[in-house]
């Protein structure tokens, strides 16, 4: 289906509203995509886009997606941090595909994807 008009958008909104009524959120995650010049050049936009897409597809309502600048780990860009309370996991070398896997494994099932962790803070060390 092609979304070509404001009317189409309005219809999608109504459908979405019906679906979200049935769902209740659990975890409060904050996902940060690092989008300095280095991040953007390495593909952070595609990563962020994939994350937003996956969250929409899964209808996750309690995830906040935001962005930050360069943190000096330019060679590990694109970087994504997943935060929940005191816990902060920084993932590096993320592709859109890996980002989708992080959503499924970490945000939905609570399993940190160890292979791509650059740094972990809080209770998460394991």
């Amino acid at each position: 289906m092609k979304i070509s008009s404001i009317e189409d958008l309005r219809r999608i909104k109504e459908e979405a509203q019906k679906r979200t009524l049935l769902r209740e959120g659990k975890a409060d995650y904050r996902v940060v995509v690092h989008m300095g010049t280095c991040g953007i050049a390495a593909g952070a936009r595609e990563v962020m886009s994939a994350i937003l897409d996956e969250i929409a597809k899964r209808g996750l309502t309690n995830v906040m997606v935001t962005q930050a600048g360069c943190i000096g780990l330019c060679d590990r860009e694109p970087l994504v941090s997943v935060e929940k309370g005191e816990e902060r996991i920084l993932y590096g070398d993320i592709t859109p595909d890996r980002a989708r896997q992080i959503i499924a494994s970490h945000l939905v099932n609570g399993q940190i994807v160890g292979d791509w962790v650059v740094h972990a803070e809080g209770r998460a060390r394991r």
Binding site: S4, D8, K13, I40, M48, L52, T61, V65, C70, G72
Partner: protein, 186 residues
């Protein structure tokens, strides 16, 4: 950067970091004059003259880092493409970045996924009013994020689901524009 729209995202990141509340992106293409002009205006903190003099230096950064590549890369690109980069800024008023290019220059990267750039900005900064205009000769399309939000009555709950749909809508508008068909839709 592989796409012009990545440069746009990068410059808008600067605006957002300068606490802009409103950002206007204009892409003005003139096929007869063979020019492409990219203008990004914001109402952020702005820069003083001293800072403004240094922004093209890759070893200057406004964020306490040792390097800052965003503006230098865009500056280099405009020069490669027979254009120039003009930055106007006034403290506490805002900044305007105007980049011009020779439209068919071989070194000019494609516009790329413009919808993704706008989508990412809208998703991560819901509080910012984003205005966008893309003109090719006598055809143009434009949108204002706040107007769309009002029109669709976007809330925190339905935002996540609706923004990907808005991205598709933007893609469609871009296709129409490139197809050379005038478009009256808002």
């Amino acid at each position: 950067m592989k796409e012009l729209s990545l440069h746009i995202l990068d410059v808008v990141e600067n605006s957002l970091r300068a606490k802009a509340k409103k950002v206007r992106i204009s892409i003005l293409e003139d096929t007869r004059e063979n020019r492409l002009e990219l203008v990004i205006e914001d109402d952020g903190e702005g820069m003083d003259e001293e800072t403004l003099k240094m922004v093209r230096d890759p070893f200057f950064s406004g964020q306490g880092k040792k390097v800052g590549m965003g503006i230098p890369l865009l500056d280099q690109l405009t020069r490669q493409c027979e254009g120039n980069l003009e930055i106007l800024s006034e403290k506490s008023k805002g900044t305007t970045v105007r980049a011009t290019f020779q439209r068919d220059n071989l070194d000019l990267p494609p516009l790329g996924k413009l919808a993704d750039t706008l989508f990412v900005i809208m998703a991560s900064h819901p509080e910012v009013e984003l205005e966008f205009i893309h003109r090719i000769d006598d055809c143009q399309w434009l949108f204002n994020s706040k107007k769309i939000e009002e029109e669709l009555d976007l809330t925190e709950e339905n935002r996540g689901v609706l923004l990907p749909a808005i991205r598709e809508w933007i893609e469609y508008q871009e296709e129409i524009l490139k197809g050379g068909i005038g478009n009256e839709d808002k």
